[in-house]
């Protein structure tokens, strides 16, 4: 388990960029953390670190956004996913193993996440500060 303290969204992005360097192309990255924790900022850093540029937007309405970097990146938002059918009909299971899957609001599908995964938990410490915990990843 690795712990980081971030004082700004920019710093959160930098930590994610470092994580991106360790990825091999088909990881599942389950993100936990409430509204405004910085999950999208983290994903933005991750995508940039994977050479996809500044392309990240929140997939709250689309459910999944796809970006092309060194590997395909599938950016999910499970905020509105409440049932197994909801999850199945996003095509979630069809994406597994075909690229890097970054999953915001993993809380909502925790029971159906694959065993093989990384978890990123972002916890507000103060208005600006965030504690970022990464499990299942190489040392960054």
């Amino acid at each position: 388990m690795q712990r980081f303290l971030s004082s700004s969204p920019e710093e959160t992005e930098q930590i994610a960029e470092r994580l991106a360097k360790t990825l091999s192309g088909n990881e599942v990255i389950a993100m936990f953390g409430g509204l405004g924790a910085g999950k999208t900022a983290f994903t933005r850093g991750l995508a940039r670190g994977l050479g996809a540029g500044d392309c990240v937007s929140s997939p709250t309405f689309a459910l999944v956004n796809e970006y092309e970097g060194r590997f395909p990146i599938y950016h999910f938002d499970m905020y509105r996913v409440a049932t197994y059918d909801d999850l199945y009909t996003t095509g979630f299971f069809d994406y597994l193993g075909s690229g890097i899957m970054v999953i915001e609001w993993s809380e909502n599908i925790e029971g159906l996440l694959p065993d093989e995964k990384m978890t990123v938990t972002i916890r507000p410490v103060s208005e600006e500060q965030r504690e970022i915990t990464i499990e299942g990843a190489q040392t960054i």
Binding site: F32, Y88, D94, G97, G111
Partner: protein, 238 residues
């Protein structure tokens, strides 16, 4: 009578061309490529190589499920699109039944299994007789454990087919000694099996119009419970 059959229900993709019960040609690919990109070139090259015009197809057959959400939709939508402008009928085939048709054994049980995740499989059982598989169960979602218990009631050979075959073979290992993992060329679903199943639907007058063709999904009640269990108790501290 010419049948064009396609399967995109899981990882493999295939197309087969059958004329009066004779397999003219088949194209099978089992890579990780996207069916939406591979299916049409496969259909096109199969027809061209066999020198058959799409207008000369009498029935379009497709595995309409069970299977992956996207895969089943790609297959169903493609066959709708191919058949509609030509005003030709469609055969809606169960992926599991197509697998049973692909097994060339004249006795024993066909156990078609597709990995539905969460230790569950989409499954149906058929008795093989060398002609047309005789259905023993409906298509259903079942846990691998429950399936093992049920299979213990059969003493004849049980042939596994589908992308859940290896998964089940491992799970059954040591418990069921009559289970057989057939060679790869017949283990996975093939459009050949789809075409065979379509012949029966033609004979029994059970074809559909393009607009009546629909994806058929199976519910996974256990996965729903799994999700709810974690949602109510497993949230990390905020």
């Amino acid at each position: 009578m010419r049948i064009l059959a396609i399967d995109t229900s899981a990882c493999p993709v295939s197309a087969a061309l059958m004329e009066d019960g004779f397999l003219l040609g088949e194209f099978f690919l089992n890579t990780k490529t996207t069916h939406s990109q591979t299916l049409m070139p496969i259909v096109e090259s199969l027809l061209r190589a066999a020198a058959v015009d799409i207008k000369d197809i009498d029935v379009f057959a497709v595995n309409t499920g069970p299977g992956s959400f996207t895969g089943v939709r790609i297959g169903t939508a493609s066959v709708k699109g191919l058949s509609m402008p030509l005003d030709k009928p469609c055969a809606s085939v169960s992926t599991l039944e197509a697998m049973a048709y692909g097994l060339p054994y004249d006795s024993g049980i066909a156990c078609a299994v597709m990995d539905a995740r969460c230790s569950q499989v989409y499954n149906a059982l058929f008795r093989l007789n060398g002609h047309e598989p005789e259905r023993l169960t409906d298509d259903r979602a079942v846990s691998i454990e429950d399936l093992a218990d049920e299979l213990a009631g059969y003493s004849e050979r049980i042939y596994l087919a589908g992308d859940g075959a290896e998964l089940c073979a491992r799970a059954f290992d040591g418990r069921l000694t009559n289970v057989v993992l057939p060679p790869q060329n017949i283990r996975y679903q093939h459009a050949y099996g789809t075409a065979c199943a379509a012949q029966r639907l033609i004979r029994e007058n059970r074809l559909l119009s393009s607009d009546a063709l629909m994806p058929l999904y199976l519910r996974l009640p256990q996965a729903e419970r799994e999700l709810k269990k974690k949602q109510s108790g497993g949230k990390p501290d905020q």
